[in-house]
């Protein structure tokens, strides 16, 4: 039952609404306030959007309430602002007051209220567009635009009631994009960098400090006449000048192309070696080139033996006591040190000779030299200047007394002494010392000189003899390891056998020949100043005895041969044969 009634009422209402709708009659739709705006903060206008009118004439009315007041006022002016608007005049407008505005749509069937809107006039200010926009072209040579405008008429900026800020925009007529500029509160603006012969469009708008932007003003057109900009002319000038400079530069480089080429691509330096001839090298004669590099005398060929030998070979005999006069020794040493030392590798042979020489202390005696030279004629003899002898002997023996003795003591088979011959050792008592000092032997090597002594004598001293000019004793020479031998130089008046070492002038030869205990055997005497030495088959001393200018050595000869006439043999009682079968040449006296 109930359902049938509700269903019936429903169908009935539907029928009625259908009938009514077919006529288009309905209460009005809900209007909507779209916006309220104030152009100068003194009046404002509100616009609404009407809803559907429902087919019936609809009346719209606007009601408002002011802040904190319940009085409802209706819009005073519906027409000034156009349709669906309400204009609030100055008398009706209160700033800093909240308006609550509502629009009501009314028709025969009903009314409809819009949603209320709260408005404070201060925040809805949108001024009109600026007025009197003028664009002036100034400065024909370098033109620029001067844009001026006026604020909208109604906005009272003069009293400070409203503060407006402006904005303008410019574009070429043919372009699409605007160029916007912010002008602040000023009412003038300059535009530079114009394109010549173009048409520009300018617009401006404004805004209050808290509000909305106005619409853009009407466009102002301006035509820029044709001109050559200063900027362009400057660039042309710069281009011409730089081209000129460039050509000058190129021309200069062309003139100096060689030096430029040298600067950029420096030539590869050739080798710089002294004495090196590149041309010669190029010609291909490498030997000639490299020979030029050879420096004569370099590297200094040193006689290693010279370096090596610093010491004499000394064989110490116990029986002998060496005396030294250190002081004189040093003197003599230093004197002779100045000259070169060629005492190299003499070995014991040489060392003995050395010592013997030193015994006599070869003193450069100019007077003696000629004698020596003179004696070349009679080379078999070593002439001594007897006048000089004593002192020389004295001098010589002064320092080397013991050496002599040692020499003689240390004689090896090389040395053949003549025991029968009285020997004399001149001793200087002052310098006789019975001390044997080992290191003494070193020094002679340093000061040994190769200069063939003009003459010398030997003095032998035995340890027993410590008196000057003491008589001699026969020297008994024990067999020793002495490597040296001497030859008798001459026999002086006192029947002393003056000995000299062999091979004075030819130390090198001797060196080459004699190592250690080497000595040679004289084969024969060939000529006045030549004697041949026999090669020692036993492998000992070999020396080629060639011409000797120095006192001639007597050469023994195995062959029977008469000795040279110049050979003056002292009264040799017998020839003492060396144990090894050699005849010491020393025994063969040569004067």
């Amino acid at each position: 039952m109930m359902s049938r009634d509700s269903g019936a009422s429903l169908i009935l209402s539907l029928l009625i609404s259908a009938v009514l709708d077919s006529d288009g009659l309905s209460p009005p739709g809900k209007p909507r306030l779209t916006s309220c705006r104030s152009p100068e903060k003194e009046t404002f206008t509100c616009w609404w959007e009407p809803g559907s009118d429902g087919g019936l004439p609809t009346n719209y009315s606007l009601f408002y309430r002011k802040e904190n007041s319940d009085t409802v006022y209706e819009c005073p002016d519906y027409h000034t602002a156009g349709r669906n608007s309400c204009f609030f005049s100055k008398n009706d407008t209160s700033i800093w007051v909240n308006y609550n505005i509502t629009v009501v749509a009314t028709n025969a069937l009903g009314s409809n209220f819009s949603d209320p809107v709260d408005v404070d006039v201060v925040y809805i200010v949108q001024p009109h567009t600026p007025e009197n926009l003028t664009v002036v072209l100034e400065d024909e040579d370098n033109p620029f635009l001067v844009v001026r405008w006026e604020p909208p008429r109604m906005a009272d900026t003069r009293s400070g009631w409203i503060t407006l800020i402006y904005q303008l925009r410019v574009k070429l007529e043919k372009e699409e994009e605007w160029e916007e500029h912010f002008a602040g509160q000023q009412k003038q603006f300059n535009i530079f960098s114009l394109h010549s012969g173009e048409v520009y469009m300018v617009q401006v708008r404004c805004k209050p400090d808290h509000g909305f932007w106005s619409e853009w003003s009407a466009t102002t057109y301006v035509k820029v006449p044709d001109y050559i900009s200063r900027e362009r002319s400057i660039w042309i000038l710069i281009a011409v000048f730089s081209t000129f400079i460039f050509f000058v530069f190129i021309w200069t480089m062309h003139i100096n192309r060689n030096s430029v080429k040298h600067f950029l691509l420096p030539p590869v330096p050739g080798p710089k070696i002294k004495g090196f001839d590149t041309q010669l090298l190029k010609s291909g004669k490498s030997e000639a080139v490299f020979s030029a590099l050879v420096i004569q005398g370099y590297p200094p060929t040193s006689y290693y033996d010279d370096l090596l030998v610093e010491y004499l070979e000394v064989y110490d005999n116990k029986e002998q006591v060496l005396m030294l006069d250190r002081k004189d020794l040093q003197e003599s040493l230093f004197k002779s040190k100045s000259s070169s030392d060629t005492d190299s590798g003499r070995g014991s042979c040489d060392s003995h000779t050395l010592l013997m020489e030193k015994c006599v202390e070869p003193k450069e005696d100019q007077t003696m030299m000629p004698q020596v030279k003179d004696s070349e004629a009679s080379r078999d003899l070593v002439m001594k200047n007897d006048s000089n002898t004593p002192e020389s002997t004295n001098v010589k023996t002064k320092t080397w007394p013991t050496i002599c003795s040692s020499y003689h003591y240390d004689q090896n088979p090389c040395y053949h002494s003549i025991p029968e011959m009285p020997r004399q050792c001149h001793i200087s008592s002052n310098h006789f010392a019975s001390t044997h000092q080992q290191d003494y032997w070193e020094s002679p090597a340093d000061i040994y000189h190769k200069k063939p002594p003009s003459g010398y004598r030997y003095a032998q001293a035995y340890s027993e003899f410590n008196i000057k000019g003491i008589a001699l004793k026969e020297a008994t020479f024990p067999a020793s390891k002495s490597l040296e031998y001497v030859e008798v130089q001459h026999v002086n008046q006192e029947n002393t056998l003056i000995l000299k070492p062999i091979g004075q002038e030819g130390p090198d030869l001797f060196h080459a020949a004699c190592t250690g205990h080497d000595y040679s055997r004289v084969n024969r005497v060939v000529s006045d100043n030549v004697f041949l030495l026999q090669r020692d088959t036993s492998g000992q001393c070999h020396s080629d005895c060639q011409e000797r200018e120095a006192p001639v050595r007597s050469c023994t000869q195995q062959q029977p041969g008469k000795p040279a006439d110049h050979l003056q043999v002292p009264r040799v009682q017998e020839t003492h044969l060396a144990p090894n079968g050699y005849v010491d040449t020393a025994t063969m006296l040569s004067y």
Binding site: N68, V97, V117, D118, T157, G160, W161
Partner: protein, 226 residues
């Protein structure tokens, strides 16, 4: 010499107070010679700039509040209560403002500024307690609160200058009397207001102050800017 000049320059830089824009600069006492006192126009420009800055801060804070605090829809754009400064009669239009005497206008400005000193500090304190509020907003609130005080001092200086120059009569009430005239209920009413309401009211009042100052300036110092 170069070293001395350089050191002097550095010292000068250090001494430069970069906050002079927003602070009211000290003005020379009356009649002091050798002290270049700024002109009234300069003073006005300073206080106007200051008030503009203050209003900008209040607008920012208000919009932040509307965005992040989401007050109810029916509250946006309006408040249900009156601002606590409603007792101050302020001109609501240009004619009203222009009809007002200079002294009265100055007095209104000073009253407004005086009325907002305490509520703003209160607002700043309550801002600090809000966890949702960003630190930037908190700084703005603090700055705003300081600015009110400084602006008031500046306007007082301007008033003094005006009185000195004879532009306004000496009938201007002193500051203390201005504050004394404030009804006691106003302060209590301010305390009961919410933060949003405070912001809403202050935004409006700062705008009033700025506007009144501009009017005052253009009325007293007739410049081309007006």
């Amino acid at each position: 010499c170069v070293l001395h000049c350089w050191s002097l320059f550095v010292l000068l830089l250090m001494c430069l107070d970069l906050h002079t824009l927003v602070e009211s600069a000290p003005i020379c006492a009356h009649g002091h010679t050798g002290c270049h006192s700024p002109t009234l126009s300069d003073l006005f420009d300073r206080v106007i700039q200051h008030s503009a800055r203050m209003h900008g801060l209040s607008s920012d804070l208000h919009s932040d509040f509307e965005q992040y605090f989401l007050p109810s829809r029916n509250q946006i754009g309006r408040i249900n209560r009156k601002c606590h400064t409603a007792y101050i009669l302020t001109p609501n239009g240009k004619e009203n403002a222009q009809r007002l005497a200079r002294e009265e206008l100055t007095e209104v400005i000073l009253k407004l500024l005086a009325a907002w000193r305490d509520p703003l500090s209160q607002f700043h304190r309550s801002m600090a307690r809000h966890e949702d509020f960003t630190s930037i907003s908190g700084n703005k609130a603090l700055e705003m609160s300081d600015m009110v005080h400084q602006l008031k001092n500046g306007v007082e200086k301007v008033a003094e200058k005006m009185q000195l120059l004879g532009m306004i009569s000496n009938s201007l009430m002193s500051l203390s009397s201005t504050e004394a005239l404030a009804p006691h209920s106003a302060s209590s009413e301010a305390r009961s207001m919410s933060d949003y309401e405070l912001l809403y009211c202050f935004r409006r009042d700062s705008n009033k102050v700025q506007n009144y100052l501009k009017i005052l300036k253009c009325r007293i110092v007739a410049e081309h800017g007006c």
